[in-house]
Symmetry: C4
Subunit: 279 residues, 4 copies
């Protein structure tokens, strides 16, 4: 992962995931607000998107683990080298562990969508735990690095732990659109910040950054706030676009139900497109 | 900002904002308690004050950003000096970033007042984020300064983060007068404390403060508690004056509604006066 | 306060306050549980005890401030000595500040008992703030002392901040007997721990404690847990005694109301006795 | 406790307790979901299991304290050695203190099961306090040890304090199956992690671990996440097995009641078996 690409891939993944969640929660919210006029149960479209999301999360995590393990420089599933008495490629193992927990989220989402017996909210707990584990491993990752490197990763943790806390709260406060969009916002922030880390530590062009200069640390802190502003703007734009589109469709089609179904088709195609980009 | 004035301006701003919020929440609370006797919907007066508050917050932030950028010693919208390979006036950029988020609060308040589609509580989330960003930037601002300077800014963070937490809670617990007044109190505390920082670091008269003396640190800690006591007293006095005035007016006028409307006029004039002071 | 007595006086105060709160909350809880059989409004006895509690808290704080200021070695209301360019007896000023906030609690309790207009829960907020300020001032008090001295005061902060948090929660969750008794328990713990600090730092007899020995730090940590166990036992015994007594009295008298009134008399005498001990 | 066995015994205890809680909460949840079809009150089976759990917790704690005190190398109830002016075997005293609080939990569970007068949730508070005290004592236990030793105990604290927080939340949010199972999961994690600590610090075979190597610290952090994944898997499997078994039994027997009673017998035998293993 010590390259620009190594930061851009997870960054892109989190960015797309955040965008997708924004769209999904926007749809959910629209449906909840107009429920009185529609049917009482969630339309099958929501179940379908959850299956797709869960399946993709599980699949992407599996691919991620395989890649981390079996790239030429990877550990090839060896954990301890008895010859040299040392651990083999712990970095790759740590990344595999992070993927594992996002994979668990995928499976939990699948199971909790399929069965009514799974308590409501377990999927959010799994996502919260996945983010916590990511932050937890990063936290001990960062020690004894140059100041700027440590700082830029610490800022990442702000997004990761905020997202974890917000998802944990969602276990207890269901269907709160503000919490849901805040969680999505944190995923988008995490995604764009991964790109920023890539640009700073492995600049594609121009001079290297001085990793111990205090001014760079100050700039990076401020830059994080700009990313936050952009993420908030993105979430606001996307969710209002979703709302506005749904409203116009249901108005034109004369029926919320039909509007819902039309949107479903459009969006599931969009989700599939996004998902195929993600890999 | 390295002057008395540079601390007095934001201090005055926060102080007035806190006082205004106290009045506003006092009015809101009165109306909620007497709702049964009045009409069920919030009177248009509340909408109007929100428009004014949002507009002023947005406008003041815009002015603040412009001033920080285009004062003679400012960065004039230049971020990086490629000649000297250094960042240009990061301090001014940081202050602009802080203003930006208060500007976002203003816009969110405008939009959420105008449209019923915006989920209730988004304005408080925006205010909470604005305070969080302020505290966040200050936190990394303070490192490697003399003890008293660092300490006096750390105490400011207590007020800032308490205000942020209290506003975050308001997202989930609406119309809780205690939380609302606690948030106002933190703004007033922040305001008066900015003045205190100005007096300590840039004394208008008398000898300079010894920034490394332990006794000064101890005094300043205690002084912060006195500011808190004064802020609590102010909030208590203002909100009970508002309550008492409304009560007398509605009693004399024989009708809560009429009382409300009368107060509205008085208060919107007062709000305008305050707002014009703020700039 | 640098003496055994200086720790025993506040310790006794907090201990008695904790015991009193346990009795009060026990009575409250009994009344709430049997309300269906009794009258719907709180009996005047509760109002009376609140007046006494508030009045005593205010009065004791006033006396405390006067003593701290005007003992022979006190600052006699002088804050800054312009001759020597130094602060006068900051320790006494800090203690006065702590008393001030407990005095504010007393006044808030009086006002909120007297008027229905004060929002429910403000008294708990005032108590929470008083505890927070106490902990806050202690926190910056403790720096640069020998290890055992610093540690034993840090442990005090655990009780103080837990009490503050529990009282803060009570603002939002009213009439939760577990929270109420937990708060009382933290006051008792604080009280007994003040005595422990006195015994350790200013032993009445026997050898001085070695303030830098690690074993002493370990023992003191464990001892704090024993104090916690004793405080929990005390709260359990007192509240069940209160319950059992009330139950027997109301059973014998054949009427909850009469039982309540009888107890009131006994308890207000008891409260007065306790209060006179407190000073 | 400075041996493999000294870590395996508490580890086994916590592991079994976590597994038992998972089964118990699974049964509880099944009963709550099917209550409409059954009788309104909790079946006596739940009371019986609580008596057994409370009794065993109290008994095991008593045995634990006796063992810690009266093993040949123990303090034999002597706290201070006036001859050498030193504390006697503080380690054993600390462990006794931890046991004491789990014993208090046992007694509280017994009393709150026996009497309806004890407020609902006090048993969870007692468990939360017991975990807090455990973590609290460990926290000051860990200072000034080699890096790996300190780190591996710090990770234990993550499980301990998460469990404490989750049980504290249960005081206020009753019958939330996700919280309940999360708490059980933290007990299982704590249990397996005690074994891991034993394996690392006192390896049964193979070379000693280098306690200051950074790679070992990194591996151990990752390993903690694997333990978490296994604990989550265990909780998921056990609770779904419990559900599935109850469902099949009640289906076959044609009556939820009868199924409940049958399971009760099976499970109380199982609980007894587990309990006898625990000692």
């Amino acid at each position: 992962m010590a390259s620009f690409g190594g930061h851009a891939i997870p960054g892109g993944f989190f960015l797309l995931f955040g965008l997708w969640l924004t769209v999904k929660y926007g749809l959910n919210h629209y449906w909840r607000r107009n429920k009185a006029r529609g049917r009482p149960e969630a339309p099958p479209f929501f179940k379908k998107t959850n299956y797709i999301e869960g399946g993709l999360a599980g699949f992407a995590s599996f691919v991620g683990i395989m890649v981390e393990q079996f790239v030429p420089s990877g550990p090839h599933a060896h954990l301890y080298d008895t010859e040299h008495n040392s651990w083999v490629k712990l970095m790759n193992w740590q990344h595999s562990t992070m993927y594992l927990f996002f994979g668990i989220y995928g499976i939990v989402l699948l199971v909790s969508t399929a069965s009514r017996l799974v308590p409501v909210g377990v999927d959010r707990l799994a996502l919260s735990v996945a983010l916590f584990v990511e932050g937890f491993l990063f936290y001990y990752h960062v020690h004894s690095r140059p100041p700027l490197d440590a700082h830029i990763h610490t800022l990442l943790l702000v997004a990761v732990f905020s997202g974890s806390a917000s998802n944990m709260l969602e276990v207890f406060m269901r269907d709160n659109i503000i919490l849901e969009l805040f969680g999505s916002c944190m995923f988008i922030l995490q995604g764009t910040w991964f790109y920023q880390i890539g640009f700073v530590l492995y600049p594609l062009s121009g001079p290297e950054w001085d990793l111990s200069q205090h001014d760079n640390v100050m700039f990076v802190t401020m830059c994080f706030c700009w990313h936050l502003a952009v993420a908030m703007l993105l979430v606001a734009c996307i969710s209002s676009t979703v709302w506005w589109t749904l409203n116009r469709m249901s108005g034109r089609g004369g029926d919320v139900e039909i509007g819902m179904r039309k949107t479903s088709n459009n969006n599931s195609q969009k989700a599939l497109l996004e998902a195929s980009d993600e890999e």
